[in-house]
Symmetry: C2
Subunit: 326 residues, 2 copies
DNA sequence: TTGAAAGCGCTAACAA
DNA sequence: TTGTTAGCGCTTTCAA
């Protein structure tokens, strides 16, 4: 290809990679030849030769939830800044697809993985990764095995904080809308935080509505919950998307938020600030989670850094969706 | 690795790929050996040998705009169904990054590309692709060169339809909020549609506010537009995200939507149905654009299909953000 | 400072 | 039906 420079292929490699000693004159000649030729070094050949692809595998449950879009954005930026590429896949909250995606990523010989699994403890993808030498870091998931790298927040604590705010507002009957546990271990943790807050204040558990991440109808179970003898005056939802769906379903049923019922979410997606009423929620630093995950992953890849559990701070954002009960 | 089966490496390759004639017995033996060995065929080696990676490169301006997240989702599904993987990158509406991304994708020897360029006509990435043998299909972009594959909608017609609805509602002074043209050729087309609608009805062009895709403040220019001697009674925005920002800025300035001012968007993101007032907009079939683009791209890759321009239908969604002027 | 050559993991043509 | 072999595009010893 660039024998046009009158040098060996090895020398070209040296120039392209800026490694090895090359005299200025030959280097210049090679550069010239490079510029004159439509030549683009193949990462495929390079990967095969070096056993390093400078590519990270990313797996998220869904791109349609902005919390993941934001995190992926952070990962993109961080990876690019460090000279890495990204292969992105989504599992649609399905363990089967999760496994296939990880398999594919590994087949592509990514140097490392950043992933959010449905359940970091039980997911088959987790077991598979356990037996692989490739470093990986979980994001949003809790740490379930020794030696796992995790970048997340304390979901239970954040959930507890939100529910405690609801209690402080005067609510005594607080229900929860939560994603199916098999699809999200975060749901379980948030639910634990919810229960802890209620227990701390000696309150009974409100009705808990469990939902799939696809398209369950919220109206029927909501109606049922509201027709209890002591209906809840507030709902804590395990994600902002659920919270928005809940507010809409309540509106549809003629219940005003927050006048009749308060609603709080979890995630802190920007969207929550745009809806009316604006969403009270626990805010996860999604983009930072993404950048930190990639930063740490690359440290593990390049500098054999030890696995770490990085817990980032969350915050509570107040909003128009909650108020004291009537 | 799998000489454990007592066969040659070639036979294993045949079994793994289900190609070539292999006797049932040896095949079974290989399968057994495969199962007993932690072996995962390397796509890197395979790509190098076959000069095909079964990987598609995707480039979008931003993942944070749901219109692209939706389209990417469609691409994912479609690619996966056809046995292709995806490498995703985002350009952040920056031509420089656009070029680098395409370069990287090509270095990774993707079999084809699906991309939304800032400007399909002038973008340096477009010229680079022109000289490459790799098939690519533009999404959302208009077709600017012969032989380009494009999957899109008729932006100008859709914009004209929206603005015409505004006119039909009785508006006579209609302004526009539009993304910087250098960052989005779609903006230009939508603006053309806007101007066409006004011209058809012999109306004067309203004030046009040009905005960057990052974080321009909308308030000042909006104030200026509203303090004209004949202020507009409606704004057409070149994206839903701009429209939502506009509504918020108007609310901040104490103007009620749609009572005092109507606002219409463009894109049809789900989010628009959740905000209050809900957004009137032109709906693009984003996910279908994604699936169609990948379908067509793979046809070009595998069956040398001819480049095509696929224009999908749009629709107009009414919403609470527009009403007749006072 | 440079070049020759081996080899990364795979596929495919050819022989057997 | 199976095995041998060359070679995909690169990097990297090792010699010169």
């Amino acid at each position: 290809v660039a024998r046009r420079a009158g040098v060996s292929i090895a020398t070209v490699s040296r120039v392209v990679n800026g490694r090895g000693n090359v005299s200025e004159t030959t280097a210049a000649a090679v550069q010239r030849a490079l510029a004159e030729t439509p030549f683009r070094p193949s990462n495929v050949g390079r990967s095969l030769a070096t056993a390093r692809s400078r590519t990270l595998g990313i797996l998220v449950p869904s791109l349609k939830n902005p919390i993941f879009a934001d995190a992926v954005h952070g990962m993109q930026m961080s990876a690019e800044a460090q000279g890495y590429g990204i292969i992105l896949m989504s599992s649609e909250y399905d363990e089967e697809r999760e496994l296939r995606a990880v398999d594919r990523l590994l087949a592509n010989r990514v140097d490392g993985l950043v992933l959010t699994l449905s359940d970091a403890g039980s997911s088959p993808a987790a077991s598979m990764l356990q037996r692989e030498p490739v470093p990986y870091v979980l994001v949003f998931n809790p740490r379930r095995r020794k030696g796992q790298s995790v970048v997340s927040i304390d979901h239970a604590a954040a959930a507890e904080a939100v529910v405690t705010r609801l209690i402080d507002l005067g609510h005594r009957g607080i229900g929860m809308v939560v994603g199916r546990l098999r699809s999200s271990d975060r749901s379980g943790l948030r639910r634990a935080g919810y229960e802890r807050a209620l227990a701390r204040h000696h309150l009974a558990l409100g009705p808990v509505i469990e939902l799939g991440f696809d398209s369950d109808d919220l109206r029927a179970p909501l109606e049922r919950a509201l027709s209890l003898r002591r209906p809840p005056t507030a709902f804590f939802c395990s994600t902002d998307l659920f919270a928005i769906a809940t507010i809409r379903a309540l509106a549809h049923a003629g219940r005003r938020v927050p006048d009749e019922i308060s609603v709080a979410g979890f995630d802190g997606v920007a969207l929550g600030e745009w809806v009316t009423p604006s969403l009270a929620t626990a805010v996860q630093p999604a983009e930072t989670i993404g950048t930190e995950a990639v930063r740490h992953l690359i440290a593990r890849i390049e500098r054999q850094a030890a696995p770490a559990q990085i817990l980032l701070p969350f915050s509570i954002r107040s909003g128009g969706s909650w108020a004291p009960p009537k």
